[in-house]
């Protein structure tokens, strides 16, 4: 698989489809780091393991490079979804982006609790089936129990927070400047642990319809807060009610921004709590 990725990267560079390929490089002393390969000769040092989210980096590169600079990125499923979301949110120009999609292995999918471990534009590797996050024990346990029990469980977990902002910084889609989490109005600054409700729920809600379930927040967290579990129920709700999955369709905007009657596509039922609307719509 690695050879095939290198082959594609060389072709992309040789045919001038892109000016650079962003991928991982095994450099001096076998240190693996992200690198922009700009000539086909360099590509020999390209590696694809371990998983490293490059979406945010691609955005930074594209923003700071000259106009018309085209970048190819070696992406996994989550990376591709993140890039799609960034394009939708006008952070990246679509024309300047080329993707080289690689599939994850079954073990990796299991480790990430990923339900779509392959990109839509798959260039090498075979797509393996995803894992249903709600069938995983640890997730089940977090979302189990009635109100107060669950509340206490989450309160205890979130109290560990040291407010390093790692979850925000590592998230490929957290791009707002200025950030609400740094604003005294929303989250009290200078307090550790972070205000449990404000900090975590505001962060989680801001990503409700954008979260691509890449797990970067969780990986970055130094105190092992299972942040993905916060996101899962909202992703599930969007999928069930609107049939919307963040990052899959570049043309479709988030359903929570739009009106209820027009947004559901043909054949899709309106959520049952607005059924009365149907009459308004027909008249």
């Amino acid at each position: 698989m690695l050879e095939k990725v290198k082959e594609i990267a060389r072709t992309v560079l040789a045919e001038k489809q892109a000016d650079g390929v962003l991928g991982l490089m095994k450099g001096q002393w076998d240190i693996i780091q992200p690198h922009i390969f700009e000539s086909p000769v360099e590509v020999d040092a390209l590696v694809i393991e371990p998983k490293w989210l490059l979406a945010k980096m691609a955005m930074t590169v594209l923003r700071s490079s000259r106009e018309g600079y085209r970048l190819a990125v070696v992406v996994r499923g989550c990376d591709e979804r993140a890039l799609t979301e960034l394009v939708k949110r006008n952070q990246i120009e679509k024309e300047r982006l080329v993707t080289i999609g690689i599939a994850c292995t079954a073990e990796q999918a299991q480790a990430c609790i990923c339900d779509r471990p392959y990109p839509q534009k798959l260039d090498c590797g075979d797509a393996v089936a995803g894992v249903d996050p709600f069938s995983i024990e640890s997730v089940k346990e977090l979302l189990a129990g009635d109100g107060p029990a669950r509340m206490e469980k989450w309160a205890n977990i979130l109290k560990r927070c040291i407010k390093c902002y790692g979850c925000r910084n590592s998230c490929p889609i957290c791009v707002c400047v200025p950030c609400k989490l740094e604003d005294q109005v929303w989250v009290e600054t200078g307090v550790i642990p972070a205000e449990v409700l404000s900090y975590h729920l505001i962060r989680a809600f801001h990503l409700s319809d954008t979260c691509v379930a890449c797990g970067a927040c969780q990986e970055a967290c130094p105190v092992n807060i299972p942040l993905m579990a916060l996101q899962l129920s909202m992703r599930e709700m969007l999928r069930e009610t609107y049939g919307y999955d963040a990052g899959l369709d570049p043309e479709r905007n988030s359903p929570i921004l739009y009106d209820l009657c027009k947004e559901p596509a043909a054949g899709q039922a309106l959520p049952d709590w607005v059924n009365s609307l149907r009459k308004d719509d027909e008249s």
């Binding site: 107060p148 989450w154 205000e195 409700l197 404000s198 809600f205 909202m234 709700m237 929570i256 209820l260």
Partner: protein, 134 residues
């Protein structure tokens, strides 16, 4: 018990006003914040209200299709419904957030909504786990 009510200027607030004019007896522990439209109530504001110790938050707006700002309350209801999912997942309980559109235009309707919400909140478990850490 503390309740925060975000009332849209065109419906909820008129109801609140009417209830006051009619001198309907209401439980005293609620505060009303007037907003131009229910869509201006960011979910973040609701979260912030819970964080500052509110037992319940209510968002009262115009009925769907009757918003002064075209489809603004459609977006609002979608957002807040999604927020309920998050509140449920963390155990606060989506029921602590009342989304009521087009039900509080008259004084007596408003009183009814507020009273029912109070009764419902009374039956819910306390928020000690969250507030202790604040």
């Amino acid at each position: 018990m503390k309740i925060l009510i975000f009332a849209c200027k065109w419906c909820g607030l008129i109801g609140a006003d009417g209830a006051g004019k009619k001198r309907i007896q209401l439980p005293p522990e609620f505060r009303v914040i007037a907003v131009e439209c229910a869509a201006l109530v960011e979910p973040d504001a609701v979260i912030r209200a819970f964080a500052s110790g509110m037992t319940g938050v209510a968002v009262l707006g115009c009925h769907l299709g009757g918003c002064r700002f075209n489809d603004a309350n459609h977006a609002a209801i979608k957002r807040l419904e999604l927020l309920k999912t998050l509140l449920d997942a963390t155990g606060i309980g989506g029921k602590r957030l009342l989304i009521s559109f087009g039900t509080a235009h008259e004084g007596y309707q408003y009183a009814e909504v507020v009273k029912t919400f109070f009764e419902e909140l009374k039956t819910m478990p306390s928020t000690v786990a969250w507030t202790a850490s604040l």
